[in-house]
C-alpha cells in the first residue's frame, strides 16, 4: 500500500473513535458538540505517558481512555439535568474551555538533553514512540483497526444486551424509562463516561500517529464533524458513524476534485440528509430490514 492510502486509512480509523463517541451519546438522546475535549485529553495524556514518563504504548492508550472517561464522568454530573440545546451548548462551552486550558498548559521535562512536553499554544512536539520502537505505519494501522474492531464488537454486544436497550429507551423517552425503573441518571453518566473513554482512546492513537498535537486541532469543528458523522451515517447501527467518516474523509477530503469545496458539499449533505433521512442513512428501520435478511425463515408449521 502506498503511504497516502495508509495515511487516509489511519485517519479514517482514528476519527471513527470520536464519531462513535458522539454517536453513543446520540443513542441516549443527547447531542454533544464537545467530544473533541475528551479526544484532546486522551491525546495529551497518552503523549505525556510515552514521551515524558517512558510508558509502553499499550499502557499509555489505556491511561488515555481512563482519564478521558473520568473527565467525561466529572462533566456528566453537573450537566445531567440539562437537555437538548442546553446540553449541546454546555458541552460546546466545556470543550472550548478545555481547548483554551491546553493553550495555557506547560509541562516541560528535560529528556536526552532536549525539552519535551506540552508547551502552551505551541503544542506538544516529539511524541516519537512509534519511531523509537520501530513500529511501521502498516503495523500502527493494524493496531488502529484492531482497537476499532474491538470497539465495534463491544457495540454489537451492547446492542444485544439489556444495557443497550436501556440506552435506546432513555434516548426515546427518559421519563418513560425512569417510570419503567431504569436508573436514568446513573445510565446517562455511564454513557457519558464510555463515550469519553472512546474519544480518549482515539486521541491517544492520534497523538502517536501525528507525533505532534496542538490545541487548535481540537476546536469546535472537530466536534461538529464527529457529531455529523453519526447523523449522516445513521443511528441504527454502530457502523453508521463509520459510514459517515468514510464519506467525509475517504471521499471529500481525499479526492482532489472536491478540494476547496469540501465544506460546501459536506455542509449541504448534512443539511439535506437531516431533512430527508432524519435518523441517517443506516437508520433503525433499514438496519432492521437488513437484519431480517440474515435470519433464517421460521420453520414451517406441521
Amino acid at each position: 500500500m502506498d503511504d497516502y492510502l495508509v495515511g487516509v486509512l489511519s485517519n479514517i480509523g482514528i476519527v471513527s473513535f470520536i464519531a462513535l463517541s458522539a454517536w453513543l451519546l446520540l443513542l441516549t438522546g443527547e447531542i454533544s458538540f464537545g467530544q473533541q475535549a475528551f479526544f484532546a485529553i486522551g491525546a495529551y495524556a497518552a503523549g505525556i505517558a510515552t514521551a515524558l514518563w517512558g510508558w509502553p504504548l499499550g499502557a499509555a492508550l489505556g491511561w488515555s481512555a481512563a482519564i478521558a472517561g473520568g473527565a467525561a464522568v466529572l462533566v456528566g454530573v453537573p450537566t445531567l439535568r440539562l437537555h437538548g440545546l442546553y446540553f449541546a451548548i454546555a458541552t460546546l462551552g466545556f470543550a472550548e474551555m478545555v481547548r483554551l486550558l491546553f493553550e495555557q498548559f506547560h509541562y516541560r521535562v528535560m529528556i536526552d538533553g532536549e525539552l519535551v512536553g506540552p508547551n502552551g499554544s505551541d503544542g506538544f512536539r516529539g511524541i516519537r514512540y512509534i519511531f523509537e520502537n520501530d513500529v511501521g505505519s502498516l503495523q500502527f494501522l493494524a493496531l488502529i483497526y484492531l482497537l476499532l474492531a474491538a470497539a465495534l464488537a463491544g457495540f454489537m454486544l451492547l446492542e444485544r444486551s439489556r444495557l443497550g436497550v436501556a440506552f435506546r429507551m432513555i434516548g426515546e423517552d427518559d421519563t418513560l424509562a425512569a417510570l419503567n425503573g431504569l436508573a436514568v441518571a446513573r445510565l446517562k453518566i455511564l454513557a457519558a463516561g464510555l463515550a469519553g473513554a472512546l474519544a480518549g482512546l482515539g486521541g491517544g492513537l492520534y497523538a502517536h500517529l501525528t507525533t505532534y498535537v496542538e490545541p487548535r486541532v481540537f476546536d469546535v469543528m472537530l466536534g461538529v464533524h464527529s457529531l455529523a458523522y453519526g447523523l449522516i451515517g445513521g443511528l441504527g447501527t454502530a457502523l453508521g458513524p463509520l459510514l459517515g467518516v468514510v464519506i467525509d474523509i475517504g471521499l471529500l477530503e481525499s479526492v482532489r476534485a472536491f478540494a476547496g469545496y469540501r465544506m460546501i458539499v459536506f455542509g449541504g449533505l448534512v443539511a439535506v440528509l437531516l431533512i430527508v433521512r432524519p435518523r441517517g442513512l443506516l437508520d433503525e428501520a433499514l438496519v432492521h430490514r437488513i437484519g431480517r435478511l440474515f435470519v433464517r425463515a421460521p420453520p414451517a408449521g406441521p
Binding site: 447531542i31 462551552g93 483554551l100 434516548g171 459536506f266
Partner: protein, 299 residues
C-alpha cells in the same frame, strides 16, 4: 481604580455589540424555539459582500452598511429555508445541527470569493476619543452603544406596540393557536428571521467598522459572542440579551486588562458553562421547561 473604570467603560461599549448579536439570536429563538448557529456566519456573508463593494467599487460607508445588512438578511433567509422551514415541529435539535452544517458551507463560500486572510472595512468615525478627566470615550464606541440601546428599544416597541409584533408574540406564545386565529405563521417566522438578520447585520457592521478589517474568523466570533451573551442574559428575553452582552463585555474587558487575551476567552466560556449549569434560564429568562427539546424525538 482608574483602570477598572476605564475597562468597564470600554467593556460596556464592545458589550453593546454583543448585546445586539444576542438580540438577533434571541428573536429567532423566541419565534422558533430553536437555535440558529449559522447566525454569525450569515452576518459574515453580509460583511464580506460589504467589503467586496468597498474594495472593488470604493463604495461609501452608507452603501457598505446597506449591502452588509441586505447580505445578512439574504443569507439568514437561506438558512431559514434549508435548516428551519423543512424541519418538523419539535425537531429543534435537528435544526441546530443542520445550521451548524450550513455554517461550514457559508464560511467556505465566503473564503472562496475573498481568499485573503484580512480585508479592509471602512471606519465608522475617525475622530479623537473624547476625554473626561482621566477617562477616554471612543466615538465609535459611543455610536455602537447608542445604536444598541436604540435598536433594542425599537425591537421591543415593534413587538409590543404594533400589529406585526402582536402576530409575532402570538406565534411565540403558541404557533397552533396563532394559526387558528388567522395569523400567517410562516410569514411571521420569515419576518422574524429577516429582522434578526438585519439586527445582526447592523451589529456586524458596527463591530467591523470599529476594527476596520474583516477576517474569516468573524462568523465564529459573532456566533459565540452572541450565543454566550444570550445564554447569560436568558434565552428569549430582549432586555436579557442586551444585559448579557454588557455583562460579557465588562467581564472580557477587565479580564483582558488584568490577565491577557487567553484568560479573557477562557473566562467567557467558564461564565457560559457556569451559567448553564447553575441557572439555565439566564439572568432574565425563564427556566427551560421539560417539554422543550427533551431529545431528538421527531427529529
Amino acid at each position: 481604580m482608574v483602570d477598572l473604570v476605564q475597562n468597564t467603560i470600554d467593556g460596556l461599549m464592545i458589550g453593546s455589540s454583543y448585546g445586539l448579536l444576542a438580540l438577533g439570536f434571541t428573536l429567532i429563538f423566541g419565534v422558533m424555539r430553536r437555535l440558529n448557529l449559522s447566525y454569525g456566519p450569515s452576518v459574515m456573508v453580509g460583511a464580506y459582500l460589504g467589503t467586496l463593494v468597498y474594495v472593488q467599487l470604493a463604495a461609501g460607508p452608507l452603501v457598505v452598511l446597506v449591502v452588509t445588512v441586505l447580505g445578512s438578511v439574504l443569507a439568514g433567509l437561506y438558512v431559514e429555508r434549508l435548516c428551519f422551514a423543512p424541519m418538523a415541529a419539535g425537531a429543534g435539535v435537528a435544526s441546530m445541527v443542520s445550521s451548524f452544517a450550513i455554517w461550514m458551507q457559508l464560511e467556505q463560500a465566503a473564503v472562496l470569493v475573498l481568499p485573503r486572510h484580512t480585508y479592509p472595512f471602512p471606519p465608522l468615525a475617525t475622530a479623537d476619543p473624547l476625554a473626561f478627566g482621566p477617562f477616554y470615550l471612543r466615538v465609535d464606541g459611543l455610536i455602537m452603544l447608542a445604536c444598541a440601546l436604540a435598536l433594542s428599544a425599537g425591537v421591543q416597541l415593534l413587538l409590543y406596540r404594533s400589529r406585526v409584533g402582536l402576530a409575532l408574540r402570538a406565534t411565540i406564545n403558541n404557533p397552533v393557536a396563532a394559526h387558528l386565529a388567522g395569523i400567517d405563521v410562516r410569514t411571521a417566522v420569515v419576518f422574524a428571521f429577516a429582522l434578526a438578520s438585519a439586527v445582526g447585520g447592523i451589529a456586524g457592521y458596527l463591530v467591523l467598522a470599529t476594527d476596520q478589517q474583516v477576517t474569516p474568523m468573524f462568523g465564529m466570533w459573532a456566533t459565540f459572542k452572541g450565543l454566550i451573551a444570550m445564554m447569560i442574559g436568558g434565552l428569549g428575553s430582549i432586555p436579557g440579551a442586551i444585559l448579557g452582552g454588557l455583562v460579557l463585555g465588562v467581564v472580557e474587558a477587565n479580564s483582558q486588562w488584568y490577565f491577557g487575551p487567553q484568560v479573557r476567552d477562557l473566562l467567557a466560556y467558564v461564565l457560559l458553562f457556569a451559567c448553564l449549569v447553575l441557572r439555565p434560564g439566564g439572568l432574565l429568562g425563564e427556566a427551560p421547561s421539560r417539554q422543550q427539546d427533551t431529545g431528538r424525538r421527531g427529529a
